[in-house]
Symmetry: C2
DNA sequence: ATAATCTATGAAAACGTTTTTTTGAATTCT
DNA sequence: AGAATTCAAAAAAACGTTTTCATAGATTAT
């Protein structure tokens, strides 16, 4: 068995409290004794038990991270790794550990997370993506758990005023701008492929599109708006639908690069040239957006920074529980590559 | 504050041992008392503290997962999410939690991991990818921590006999077969873009290439073998080098799809048709391999299953510490898509 | 020189469980 | 009927820390 504080105390011929004082760098311990204790610690290879420490201090430095809210999304759009990276590194920097919750469906996952919270296994949580009326959030505030939301929508009054910490990009504004950019280029028929509106991110993006179209006096034609899941087949069939329309859209905007990449390949199959015949625009600036042909024009989302900011924010929420909620908005911007151009001249 | 077992005991007017018996479904408790306790638990909203429980039972059901060994790789090739998914879901199924270690460099990460292990914060570990003479492994066995390696190379005697649990694909054989496939198609000049040989996976793959070339009496021309990191620029410049050779390779094999995708775009820029002018083959079967143009011929690696198998294996190693090490080899296979064909006829 | 104040250390309580031991009552055996 | 056995429940010990409180010796102030 591993050596305990008692063993060290005995070996150094001091009391337990003294050992504890040494390990926690407390003042008021003579250098002679300190040396003796340190020697004993080294000799026995002693490492304090986090569990015992946590019990005594009533805190385990763990943070739950829920990705599964958007599991389908998370694992289909694997650049979420960047977010995880930022999260993990950021958390570790503060001395916290990241425990990942991604088991099964949303229901199971919520239970798992709440279990971690209620049993004291974690001190806080970061929720990646949340859907409409997500019950998890209520449960979390009910349990008085410090937490932060990543990808929280802002720019929309009803949600902006909600009492959560959050870090995100302005999905609504970003999409509005993206579509405005396309319209500015001369496009009059811009289609959209979007994902389940149950997820707030998607809803915000969708609304950004809608408003941009409306504000520029273009008709919101239903056949130009098609929903797709994160599955490849779904994205492909959505693209197929759009690109088989009697009157083609001159541009199609996708709520993520993944879908956009699929539009690209469907276009290639149908012998449509991008961007000559049709422009394609993505969102998120995933790595793949530079690897497609042509490369994707998209809106850059700082995934890594979303993660690290969220990390900073949870630990702040933990250490200063009385401070008001913060809503951090990270800058995002359009990245112009090769898949977007002015529409073809009218025949 | 949250209710404790004492509160429940008091409310139900029983001893704390009785409450414990109820919560742990122990026998020997009358149904009347059980009901009373259950009622008190419900009324107080009591959830047992994992920390206290862990202290008493000397075990926290946490598993450390180290991705950062190949962090550059992991985060650059984001399909590692699939592996994480398998891992997390598998672990949760067994009632364990996944704590992610990915902070900073290898050195820092090793310390972090060993810290988790030594302080008892985790009961076991799964190491994703390991490099040559990885010191972590020794430390781990030294600490008698149950752990399993993902991506462990096999088929090579010196390593196969090592005393670790592992799950992986046969990287050596897979690459050997892949290259053999290209050669079988008629290719005589097949180039390779590979990654740092410090990582065992990469070394095995590289050796598979080397042996396949040698066994078919082709010259191992140094200028056909170029190393690249996982960074996009590096992959591109490697591709550029290969595709600028006075005598072009007729096929280039890449140790991952990411590199292959970059070869594709460089080829497009140089007006080389794939696969007509040059064939390109990848490895891993990342999602992107179906989204490139043309789609990538590659070797499929069951990332999700690597993860779930690893999960099963660690908990087995934990629960049956005396059993001998297992080395699980998962099947992999070549996926034929559009980027590979017979070489162009000699002019 | 005595009292008051510090200071380094030790003793013990606390953290919230599980587990072992003890107790007392009910049941069974002879 | 008395002893042996079983059983439900309580009491207490243990898990490995931190932290509060007490104590004795040294230092300072009066």
């Amino acid at each position: 068995m591993a050596a305990t504080i008692k063993d060290v105390a005995r070996a150094a011929n001091v009391s337990i409290s003294t050992v504890s004082r040494v390990t926690s760098n407390a003042p008021n311990v003579s250098s002679e004794i300190r040396k003796r204790v340190l020697r004993a610690i080294a000799k026995l290879g002693y490492t304090p038990s986090v569990i015992a420490k946590s019990l005594a201090m009533r805190s385990l430095r763990h943070i739950a991270v829920l990705m599964g809210r958007t599991k389908e999304q998370a694992f289909a759009n694997p650049d979420f790794m960047q977010m995880l990276d930022g999260l993990s590194t950021g958390l570790n920097k503060h001395g916290y550990n990241l425990v990942l919750c991604t088991n099964g469906d949303q229901q199971a996952e919520m239970c798992h997370c709440m279990n971690l919270v209620l049993t004291g296994a974690v001190q806080g949580a970061v929720v990646i993506g949340s859907f409409r009326n997500d019950p998890l959030l209520e449960r979390l505030v009910e349990a008085r758990t410090p937490f932060v939301l990543i990808g929280f929508p802002s720019g929309q009054p009803d949600i902006h005023s909600m009492p959560y910490n959050s870090v995100g990009t302005d999905d609504y504004a970003d999409c509005y701008e993206a579509v405005r950019y396309l319209i500015g280029l001369g496009h009059r028929r811009v289609g959209i492929i979007y994902s389940s509106l149950e997820y707030t991110v998607n809803r915000m993006r969708y609304m950004g599109y809608l408003d941009a179209v409306a504000d520029h006096h273009l008709a919101a034609e239903p056949q130009l708006m098609v929903e797709a899941t994160y599955a490849k087949e779904s994205a492909r069939s959505a693209a197929m639908r759009l690109l088989s329309l009697p009157q083609l859209p001159t541009a199609v905007f996708c709520t993520d690069d993944y879908k956009a990449a699929n539009v690209l390949s469907v276009a290639a199959e149908k012998n449509l040239r991008v961007p000559d015949d049709v422009s394609v625009m993505g969102h998120n600036d995933y790595d793949i957006s530079t690897m497609t042909y042509p490369t994707l024009t998209t809106v850059h989302v700082p995934l890594l920074h979303l993660g690290s900011n969220a990390a900073d924010l949870v630990v702040q929420a933990i250490t200063h529980p009385d401070e008001p909620n913060k809503n951090i908005l990270l800058p995002s911007y359009i990245v112009k590559r090769d898949s977007v151009a002015a529409p073809p001249a009218r025949p």
